[in-house]
């Protein structure tokens, strides 16, 4: 999905908080999202993402892995973000669908995923559509 010029301008203001502990995956996906004109904040784990948000950092959408090192996983991060920052759309990605209850997230992205698919899910949500209805 390639945004047209007007959408592209609007997207440049949209901010994605990418939470992923696999550094190569994080860096390459961040590149793809930036290539789609999005601003991307890279967090290496849930603690970093939470520190960023609690410090006043902005995000329109959070794309988070589940299993990560640190004091909390992606599910606990999702719970906190939903409670304190309800305006942030949430995409959870995992190789295991078990911990995510439908409706608790705006989209679930099963691993492994293609970067094209991930960018498409993010763009649809940023554009106002909810990927899982």
């Amino acid at each position: 999905m390639v945004p047209d010029r007007d959408e592209d301008l609007a997207l440049s203001d949209a901010c994605v908080l990418l939470v992923e502990d696999e550094v190569v995956v994080r860096a390459l996906l961040a590149d793809e999202l930036r290539a789609a004109s999005l601003t991307v904040i890279e967090a290496a784990n849930a603690d970093e993402a939470w520190a960023y948000l609690k410090s006043g950092g902005v995000a329109d959408l959070m794309l988070s892995d589940v299993r990560m090192p640190g004091s909390m996983d992606g599910i606990e991060l999702r719970r906190r973000v939903r409670a304190e920052f309800p305006g942030i759309k949430i995409v959870i990605t995992s190789g295991n669908v078990g911990p995510v209850i439908p409706g608790e997230v705006d989209a679930f992205l099963p691993k492994p995923y293609s970067f094209t698919k991930a960018v498409d899910v993010v763009l649809r949500l940023i554009g106002g559509e909810t990927a899982n209805g």
Binding site: A27, A30, I41, A44, N45, Y52, G57
Partner: protein
């Protein structure tokens, strides 16, 4: 605008993120690593061509010196800029990079200037033709 790629190694997202955004606004591609292990992984996999590594030695000085030493021996096309203030640092840094360590907290414009100087020095050393 392509000024090259900087790998920013910094444990604190509240320091790393604004520094990375500033460098992107200045035309650099920026890869981010939260620690030395992530930095090594990015460099080893070579999926993102990196020109300069800016590493904060404040939280893991020994690890950072080891990273800088490894880059020097195994990644000849990559320059290293050390930052932070730790004991022994000036002496160690003198063996690992061309300039004295950058001070923290970062002055973004000084970091940019150092990156430019480092790249210019490499260009001067590069064989002509």
């Amino acid at each position: 605008m392509d000024e090259g790629c900087v790998l920013l190694v910094e444990a604190d997202i509240l320091v790393r993120q604004p520094m990375a955004e500033y460098l992107r606004e200045c035309g650099y591609k920026v890869a981010e690593a939260a620690n030395v292990t992530e930095a090594r992984q990015l460099l080893r996999e070579r999926k993102i061509p990196i020109d300069v590594v800016l590493v904060d030695a404040g939280t893991d000085a020994e690890g950072c010196f080891a990273l800088a030493s490894w880059i020097r021996s195994d990644q000849p096309g990559v320059d290293v800029i050390l930052a932070g203030t730790v004991p022994k640092m000036a002496g160690e840094a003198g063996d690992l990079c061309e300039e004295t360590p950058l001070k923290k907290p970062y002055d973004h414009s000084l970091v940019l200037e150092r990156i430019k100087q480092t790249r210019a020095a490499r260009d001067r050393k590069a064989p002509k033709g």
